[in-house]
């Protein structure tokens, strides 16, 4: 460990770290210790080119960049004196002479580091009226990202991201000096499974996602912490909402789970919340009130139990730990034994994407539920909690009670359908592939009457009794 002093406060940091890393390790970067930076990113290699993070280190004649200066025991660092401020003002002024300053029509406004730091270190007026570097507007970089070349400050975070994380390397900086321009390599569009992360790490409005741009001003949204439910990784996300509508997911940093990234598929899955929803209860294919549906479900359970028939519980790896526990207890009350579950599977990679395409299979397993992808066998009644994609398994099941949020092959044949909330409409916990239990929070209210699964189960149980 090394003891360093920053602006008079002492910190104990790990040896061998760069100043910026060491402060980030303590969770204090821009959160108590403010060292502005553009090119540095905690999950990418050090570039050292934006020069904004210069600090004064006692005993060193020149200012040093905090991102590439290793800490030393006894190091005294000044981040806030006039000399440092002057250097930052200089960097900001130089960055802005070729920047279009089109904030009023820029989608990054409100979450733009250039705006933020210009506010802190910029000057109100420009000292030059020279024409700016000619560059292109609205460049099509690929299927997900639109590029505004004028706004780019050449921090090259996106270049390093493509080389280091998906390892596809589509981006590069071409030409030299003040004619440097970010571009894709000829004939190679920016198209990889993680491409939209470049919009998150772009400190300015140069890279924006085709999906989110111009949808809403960010200051009209607020963010709720959640967890992506598209695979067993459980990438931490912030969900941007406004007026009970979801606008986007952005990855939220969690070094144990997803660093600062998420895949494009997961990011675009916010749209699923509004698509193909089960919006009303059904009994025998006909619309019914929620009360009638739970009553009918209770009746079916009572009848099956009275006839000594087999009742099978089917849980979903999309359900929360709380729901799975409630379902286990519910099945116990019915004497139906342990629930089964099935996990949809697909391609995984060695970055984030897991082959299990559901967020909580680990939660099912932790409760001792057994995985059955093929037939459930003969049964008089199946009670299904949450989304399941394996309708064929129900071939020999006489009656089906389904509590689910989305239409599916199974909802088309279920005898009782009770609409439920999605994970964005309730709170709970998922257990990810590595056994990490993560909380998700309710972001929006459903547009129609939808019970939480636990409420539905309680209602059914009442009807059974």
């Amino acid at each position: 460990m090394a003891k360093i002093t920053i602006d008079g406060s002492e910190y104990e940091v790990a040896d061998g770290r760069m100043i910026l890393q060491a402060i980030d390790d303590l969770g204090l970067l821009m959160n108590g210790v403010d060292i502005p930076h553009y090119c540095w990113h905690p999950k990418l290699t050090i570039d050292g080119s934006c020069r904004l993070c210069q600090v004064e280190i006692e005993g060193m004649p020149k200012l040093q960049i905090a991102c590439n200066t290793p800490v030393k025991d006894g190091m005294k660092i000044n981040t806030a004196n006039e000399r440092v401020a002057k250097a930052r003002r200089g960097v900001m002024e130089l960055l802005l002479i070729n920047h279009p300053l089109d904030c009023p029509i820029c989608d990054q406004a409100g979450e733009c580091k250039l705006q933020d730091y210009a506010f802190d270190y910029g000057v109100a007026g420009a000292r030059t009226n020279e024409p700016r570097r000619p560059a292109k507007k609205s460049v099509d970089l690929g299927p997900t990202i639109v590029f505004d070349q004028e706004r780019c400050i050449l921090c090259r975070r996106c270049v390093r991201f493509c080389r280091e994380i998906p390892k596809t390397g589509e981006l590069g900086v071409f030409n030299r000096g003040d004619e440097s321009l970010l571009e894709t390599f000829p004939g190679v569009p920016l198209d990889n499974a993680y491409s939209m992360n470049v919009a998150d790490i772009c400190p300015v409005g140069a890279l924006t996602t085709r999906d989110f741009r111009f949808k809403i001003r960010v200051w009209f949204t607020d963010d709720v912490d959640s967890v992506c439910n598209q695979c067993a990784r459980g990438c931490n996300i912030s969900v941007s909402r406004s007026n009970n509508k979801i606008y986007r997911y952005v990855p939220r940093r969690n070094d144990q789970v997803n660093d600062t990234w998420m895949c494009d598929h997961g990011r675009m899955s916010y749209k699923l919340n509004g698509q193909g929803r089960l919006s009303h209860s059904r009994v025998d294919g006909k619309a019914a009130s929620a009360a009638a549906a739970t009553r009918r479900a209770g009746e079916l359970a009572r009848q099956a139990r009275a006839a000594g028939g087999r009742i099978v519980g089917v849980a979903s790896p999309f359900a929360s730990n709380e729901e799975l526990e409630a379902f286990r207890d519910f099945l116990g009350e019915l004497g139906a034994g342990q629930a089964r579950f099935a996990v949809p599977r697909g391609e995984g990679d060695d970055i984030l994407i897991e082959a299990e395409k559901a967020p909580n299979a680990a939660g099912c397993r932790a409760l001792g539920m057994s995985e059955t992808a093929d037939s459930l066998g003969h049964a008089d009644l199946a009670i299904v909690l949450g989304h399941t994609t394996h309708a064929a398994a129900f071939a020999d099941v006489r009656r089906v009670v389904l509590i689910d949020s989305h239409e599916s092959a199974l909802s088309a044949r279920a005898d009782v359908v009770i609409p439920a909330r999605t994970f964005l409409e309730k709170s709970g916990h998922f257990t990810n592939a590595d056994g990490i239990v993560q909380r998700f929070n309710a972001v929006v209210e459903p547009a129609f009457e939808a019970l939480e699964e636990r409420e539905a189960l309680a209602e059914i149980l009442k009807a059974v009794r």
């Binding site: 080119s49 020069r51 200089g90 130089l94 900086v173 030299r176 440097s180």
Partner: protein, 430 residues
């Protein structure tokens, strides 16, 4: 191109002889005495001798060569590498070209001495792409030495002393003459200097421990080994021993190379170059290549060594002396200089990328008679935003000459602004 400098000393003594470019001729002239001496010493003793000689790098920064060698890890399971900087991209500098063309074996011998001292297994000589003849000369010399088993498995018959030399042609960019920009270029990447740390001795060419020295630096090394530290230190100044090849260009009667001891007064060098062309009056001298601040005629008695030039506000750089007479428009000089640095900036660091462009635009405005007092004030300020704040010294190199021109020739700038045109006869546009 001259065959030999107008004034010769130990380094260029035989440059006039074509046979000196052949292995036989080089040996006849006493060549390879230095490496033979070195191989009779322990590697550390060789480094110590170079340290004691006070030899300073001849590439522009003037760093102590022996000290640099001692930065190489003593033990390493990775191959150690020497990289020789023959990019010679500094405008006004043309000495390395002659050394490579006329004395290629001096360089190769110096390399082998360095390889023995540092335990290096391979050398890459990075030569400026336009330098076709130097590349041919070096390649021929390497081939001759290889055939004679002076290179390869057991150089000069010394068991366990393995060394190969690769001649590599650059592709033409000023910044590839910067130590780590050169390494990137050598690796086949875009020539952009690397952030430090890590330093080349730890992570250099292809990630291997590397020492980068200038061509001329290596050419001096055999003489130090052969003739001894005392002999070497008897030339030049106490802090800058030895000679160098001063390249004089511009408005003199006899531009060319002159091998003289470091510390030789600038006035003497100009005299040897035949004085001012056409009897005109001197206006200013850039003493060390384009990136070093200009000196006014009042400083002509300064000795040409770093420690003597620094107090005068300039630097020795590469010893490329550029002479300008009274007909020279210093705003035009600023314009050409700033255009060069704008064009050659690699574009990584904010201050350099944006600052070089801005400075050039300001110089151009003033030169074309569009400048105002506010532009001049900006020109005073912008270089100070660039200086000392970037990955490499390029931004300094771009800022210093402008600062120098403003310091000594402010009247030229003011005249342009006042008269709203260039007061010098030739109109100028880039």
């Amino acid at each position: 191109m001259q065959k030999e400098p107008y004034v010769k000393n130990y380094l260029s003594e035989h440059y006039g002889s074509d046979s000196y470019r052949t292995l036989e001729g080089y040996e006849d002239a006493g060549g390879f005495a230095g490496i033979k001496k070195a191989l009779s010493l322990a590697p550390e003793e060789v480094t110590e001798a170079v340290k004691a000689s006070g030899l300073r790098g001849r590439g522009g920064a003037g760093f102590a060569t022996g000290l640099k060698w001692s930065f190489m890890p003593k033990t390493s399971d990775r191959m150690k590498v020497i990289v020789v900087n023959g990019d010679e991209s500094e405008p006004g500098s043309f000495k390395d070209r002659m050394i490579m063309e006329r004395g290629p074996f001096q360089i190769l011998e110096g390399i082998l001495i360095g390889a023995w001292a540092m335990g290096a297994r391979r050398t890459f000589v990075y030569v400026r792409g336009e330098y076709k003849e130097p590349i041919r000369a070096l390649e021929a010399a390497v081939a001759e030495m290889g055939a004679k088993k002076y290179l390869g498995k057991a150089c000069f018959g010394k068991k366990g002393f393995e060394h190969d030399i690769v001649i590599h042609s650059g592709a033409g960019a000023y910044i590839c003459g910067e130590e780590t920009g050169l390494l990137e270029s050598l690796e086949g990447k875009k020539g952009q200097p690397r952030k430090k740390p890590p330093f080349p001795a730890e992570y250099g060419a292809f990630g291997l421990p590397t020492t980068v020295n200038n061509v001329e630096t290596f050419a001096h090394v055999p003489f130090i080994l052969e003739k001894g530290v005392e002999w070497f230190r008897a030339r030049g100044t106490a802090k800058s021993p030895g000679t160098t090849l001063f390249g004089v260009s511009g408005h003199v009667e006899r531009p060319g190379l002159f091998e003289l001891p470091l510390g030789t007064p600038l006035r003497e060098i100009l005299g040897l170059a035949g004085g001012m062309r056409g009897g005109r009056r001197l206006k200013g001298v850039m003493p060390g290549g384009l990136s070093m601040p200009v000196l006014p005629p009042s400083e002509l008695d300064v000795g040409m060594a770093e420690e003597l030039l620094a107090p005068k506000g300039s630097h020795l750089g590469t010893g490329g002396v550029m002479v300008m007479d009274e007909t020279t428009c210093m705003v035009r000089v600023a314009c050409v200089t700033s255009y060069f640095f704008r064009d050659e900036s690699c574009g990584q660091c904010t201050q350099c990328r944006e600052g070089t462009g801005w400075v050039h635009k300001l110089c151009e405005r003033i030169e074309q008679g569009r400048g105002t007092a506010a532009d001049l004030a900006l020109l005073d300020d912008i270089p100070s935003l660039m200086e000392g704040q970037t990955i490499c010294a390029f931004a300094d190199a771009a800022a210093w000459p402008i600062q120098g021109l403003l310091k000594h020739f402010r009247a030229d700038f003011e005249a342009h602004i006042h008269e709203k045109k260039c007061p010098f006869s030739e109109s100028f546009e880039l």
